[in-house]
Amino acid sequence: MAFWTLYRREAGSYFVSPIAYVVFFATALGVGAYFNFIFNYFNDYGIRQLTVLQASVNTFFFWLTLMVQIPVLTMRSFSEEFKLGTIEMLLTAPVREWEVVLAKFFGAFSFFITLWIPLFFNLLLLTAFSNPHVPLLWRPTLNTALLIVLVGAFYISIGIFTSVLTKNQIIAAILSFALIFLSFSMSFVSYLKVTAQTQNLLSYFSAIEQMDTYSKGIFDSRPVVFYLSGTVFLLLLTQRFLEARRLKS
């Protein structure tokens, strides 16, 4: 099937791209340094109420990292093909548009997962070498990982979608950052003085609250539904945009 061929090419292109490496090392370094800082801080002040993982992912720094890295990863996906004209070569091969869209999505998604492995690697190191021993809390760790994956998938689908709109990578990146930020900023609404009902409804979309819940090890199915359906919707939209070129007159 063309999907696998395309996927291998897309995923492979991240692993040979200098930009991707810059993003990888910037993320690993930032996350690692922050992790280390929190660990020492907790040690020095004897903080026991929070885990290091909780402190790592429930910060604006964490969200900003996500919101910046994803547009940088996805901006090339379609824009560059339009700019170089390779889209013409790609789509005159016997491939279906949805295969191309899925390949681009999963290519970026695979690299995204690679980006966040260092965070969990830090946790493993902590468990392995800490003295006195710090246990690995499976539930919070897996839940946190799940939410990062879900939010990542959704933001990547935003990035893929904006890059099908323009051949200018920078515009694609700015546009996806804006949309991702818009989606994220629903989290802030809960800080406003609104009725409890509205707050309840909006907290359903609030990434900050979701992470708070998940990193405590509590599973909530609503974000799963929200992010998965959002991702599917945006990918379908992307496919429609790509197909329009061939079918519309």
Binding site: A2, T5, L6, R9, S13, V16, S17, L84, G85, T86, I87, E88, M89, L91, T92, A93, P94, V95, R96, R245, R246, L247, K248, S249
Partner: protein
């Protein structure tokens, strides 16, 4: 192989191609000739299933390019204008990727890759990164890509543009060779190219087809297909008048009026007027230093057909 009926294409209101009708049979090498902006690339993009027609019906190998696009794309090898390629891939890697994408069976990929690399003389650069290749090699990589799944029909948009004369010659030879096995539609704005490689020419101008014939027949169309070039010592007006009076001469054109007078004598189609012209020269006693037959070139046919 190609059947185009009443094809029109508009880009947001601008009519790039209007009411095109033509057929290409299996085994033909057809040249699509026209000045820049004539609509060649647009037509080829429609044929390859990249752009939808605004109006009309286009069939390739019996399949409709819109509703059966996938079937069409399986059967064509398309080389776009300006050869867009993935610059970060190596030649081998790229061709393998394209072969898989075009559903070449896994067991045949190796053999096909060797075959196209040999055909396009790419063996020396097959481990290089495409982004570092020269224009000539990029062109050949794109051609190898078009050929890798051994398609019935090749659509080549300006295959020799941007190449140096040696490379142009090599690509033309290659195209002629390929024509023995494949049906080819190639576009160009260079006349000598179609004359050398194609067995039929479609002349397109401003989105319309102006003529469709063999290169030889097209040149015949122009002023009967031949003229005489005469260089004598005589008065221009006098000579023109006297030569025009010769039987079957249609027109006399003065080319150069200096010490020697250069004239071009156009005869009616298919008639040799050399005897009559020489008789006049002898009678008048003009000094003669050239009397030669000239074949009309495709270039003249082209200019004649595409001028306003």
């Amino acid at each position: 192989m190609i059947d185009v009926q009443n094809l029109s294409k508009s880009y947001s209101g601008f009519r790039a191609v209007q009411n095109l009708n033509f057929k290409v049979d299996r085994g033909e090498i057809v040249g699509f000739l026209g000045p820049n902006g004539a609509g060649k690339s647009t037509t080829m993009k429609i044929l390859s299933g990249y752009l939808p027609p605004t109006d009309g019906q286009v069939k390739v190998a019996g399949f409709d390019v819109v509703s059966e696009s996938l079937e069409v794309r399986r059967r064509i090898g398309y080389m776009p204008e300006n050869v867009p390629l993935y610059n970060d891939m190596r030649v081998n890697e790229f061709l393998r990727f394209r072969a898989k994408l075009k559903q070449v069976p896994g067991s045949r990929i190796k053999e096909r890759l060797e075959a196209v690399k040999q055909l396009c003389a790419l063996q020396d650069v097959d481990r290089k990164i495409i982004g570092t290749l020269s224009k000539g090699y990029r062109q050949r990589v794109a051609l190898a890509d078009a050929l890798v799944h051994d398609p019935d029909l090749l659509i080549l948009d300006e295959p020799t543009i941007g190449l140096d004369p040696h490379q142009i010659r090599a690509v033309r030879e290659l195209i002629k060779d390929l024509g023995k096995k494949h049906t080819i539609l190639l576009s160009t704005h260079i006349l000598s190219e179609v004359e050398m490689t194609c067995n039929r020419v479609l002349i397109i101008n401003r989105g319309r087809i102006e003529a469709s014939d063999t290169p030889a027949n097209l040149t015949k169309l122009v002023r009967g297909g031949g003229s005489l070039r005469v260089e004598v010592k005589a008065d221009a007006k006098d000579a023109a008048a006297k030569l025009s009076a010769v039987a079957d001469v249609e027109d006399v054109e003065v080319l150069l009026e200096k010490d020697w007078l250069q004239l071009r004598v156009f005869a009616k189609p298919g008639i040799d007027v050399r005897d009559g012209v020489y008789a006049v020269i002898k009678r008048e006693g003009w000094d003669l230093r050239e009397l030669a037959r000239e074949r009309a070139t495709l270039e003249e046919a082209f200019v004649e057909l595409t001028q306003d």
